[in-house]
């Protein structure tokens, strides 16, 4: 699988799944535009890619800002001429009872997770259509599939991404493919934060997963690579779960062995 001649823009590329994906795509010879609101994190990913002989640039980027998107897309085009892979990965998490969520909190998370994904497609797709080729991967979550207490805001944002992806796929065919991915418990700073908020040990979370482990950012990056590449050229509007079996079935009685 070679991504030579491909240009990928990855939001939230400074940490976790975004960083693992940036490294993997660069390893497969793609030119990578790393964006992140945190300059220090973004620069670390950039240096790591360059250290391994890959090609990348970093752009500081608040995904909820349309101005920032226009700037990021223009800079990418100036540098690499086109963008044909977009990974809308940036997102934030919260855990709170619904009636305790303030409108400001709601709007902030929705602006980053959902509006960020909308703006990304709005400003990148015209360039993809011009080149008649593109693949967009939007990061949803298993929280968009299953219900859980205190997850209403995060879950709703990821549910919006799930639905947005399907509608966009029908709109952008035949030039641009759009798919969504559903990571479960993956070892990132976000899950550390979730563990802290819920006062749950990560080991306990891992044992609730049928494969009895947490996912790694690379597990998700591998899936993004498949969806970004021509290997998946007949796949659009679809959903890909990477959760160690978490959403395949609820916990049930086990037979004694």
């Amino acid at each position: 699988m070679n991504l030579e001649n491909e240009v990928a823009l990855i939001t939230g590329g400074g940490k976790g799944i975004g960083k693992a994906t940036a490294l993997l795509l660069a390893k497969k010879k793609a030119k990578v535009v790393i964006t992140d609101i945190n300059e220090e994190d973004g620069d670390k990913t950039l240096q790591e890619i360059k250290g391994k002989g890959g090609e990348a640039i970093f752009i500081k980027h608040d995904v909820s800002s349309e101005e920032d998107w226009i700037r990021a897309v223009n800079k990418s085009i100036d540098r690499y001429k086109f963008i044909n892979i977009l990974f809308n990965n940036a997102g934030i998490f919260t855990l709170k009872p619904l009636f305790e969520i303030s409108l400001d909190e709601w709007n902030k998370l929705m602006n980053i997770n959902v509006t960020g994904t909308f703006l990304g497609m709005k400003h990148v797709v015209p360039h993809m259509i011009k080149n008649k080729k593109g693949s967009i991967i939007n990061a949803s979550s298993t929280a968009a599939i299953n219900g859980a207490p205190n997850h209403s805001l995060y879950g709703a944002s990821k549910g919006a991404i799930r639905s947005l992806t399907k509608h966009a796929a029908t709109e952008f065919a035949p030039n641009v493919r759009v798919n969504s991915i559903y990571p479960g418990f993956v070892k990132t700073q976000m899950i550390d934060y979730a563990s802290e908020l819920s006062n749950t040990k990560l080991d306990n979370q891992a044992s609730s997963v049928p494969l009895n482990k947490l996912g790694t950012p690379t597990d998700v990056a591998n899936l993004v690579l498949y969806l970004a590449s021509d290997m998946s050229s007949y796949i659009t509007g679809s959903e890909f779960v990477v959760d160690g079996g978490l959403s395949a079935g609820p916990p049930v009685w086990e037979i004694k062995e």
């Binding site: 029908t170 035949p174 009895n212 597990d219 690579l225 509007g237 679809s238 395949a248």
Partner: protein
């Protein structure tokens, strides 16, 4: 790049279409491949083409509805290659009858070939995978295991059974590091669907419901099966991979 280096894979229904494309791709990616099919002559020809000068392709006649045949396939695989890492339950037949037209015999035949075979295959392969510390099972369902289209009742039911069986198998075998996933192709041009492609009304209808501007090829499916077979998907189990050009997005 050898994405399946040193892995041993059994692929049923490998004489043509998706199974043949999977066998070719697996072999190119370094796997030792056991190709099985009930169509012996066709299977030999395809296997010879894939094999070239490699000794790591075995082709065996196989009625997937026969428990005896399955045991034979597994013994032969172990004898030749020592273990089983990957099982692709790909063999299947079509059926284009409405519920009122379908006979009990016709119904039962489709269930036997399409879904009973998946049960028997997993039943006898999983213990071998347990012994070697894990594995990946890929069951070929269809978008018809998810949505409803009139006139394919027996096929729909058999593919729905595969979808559901894959999930329960994923739950049962997760602790043994055996992953089980289902793949759901849309209309793919293969010998099984040849008659559909000859009907201009059906092709026109397919084009009208598929957002992507072409119909599916066996390689589209083989690429997805390869991903699920490889260690790249090692955190993915009990899930569904749709390869349909956006058909079921509607």
């Amino acid at each position: 790049m050898e994405r399946l280096k040193d892995k041993v894979a059994i692929i049923t229904g490998a004489a043509n279409g998706q199974g043949a494309a999977e066998a070719k791709m697996f072999s190119e990616n370094g796997a030792k491949v056991v190709m099985t099919d009930i169509l012996e002559e066709e299977l030999q020809n395809v296997a010879n083409n894939i094999r070239g000068d490699k000794k790591s392709v075995l082709s065996l006649k196989h009625d997937v509805t026969s428990e005896k045949d399955w045991k034979h396939i597994i013994n032969e695989t172990k004898e030749h290659f020592g273990k089983i890492d990957i099982l692709v339950n790909n063999a299947g037949i079509g059926s284009t009858k409405t519920i009122e037209e379908e006979t009990i015999e016709g119904w039962e035949k489709v269930q036997k070939v399409n879904s009973n075979s998946v049960f028997i295959g997993i039943k006898y392969t999983a213990p071998e995978m347990k012994k070697s510390g894990g594995g990946s099972i890929i069951n070929l369902s269809s978008v018809y295991g998810i949505i409803g289209v009139k006139g394919y009742s027996a096929y729909h039911a058999s593919k729905g059974a595969i979808r559901s069986l894959s999930k329960t198998a994923a739950m049962e075998f997760a602790k043994h590091h055996i992953r089980v996933n289902s793949v759901h192709p849309g209309l793919i041009q293969t010998p099984m669907t040849e008659s559909l492609f000859l009907d201009p009304n059906i092709v026109e209808w397919m084009q009208s419901v598929t957002p992507w501007p072409r119909l599916g090829k066996p390689e589209d499916v083989a690429n997805g099966v390869l991903f699920l077979a490889s260690d790249e998907s090692s955190f993915i189990t009990g899930t569904e991979l749709i390869i349909d050009g956006g058909w079921t997005t509607h």
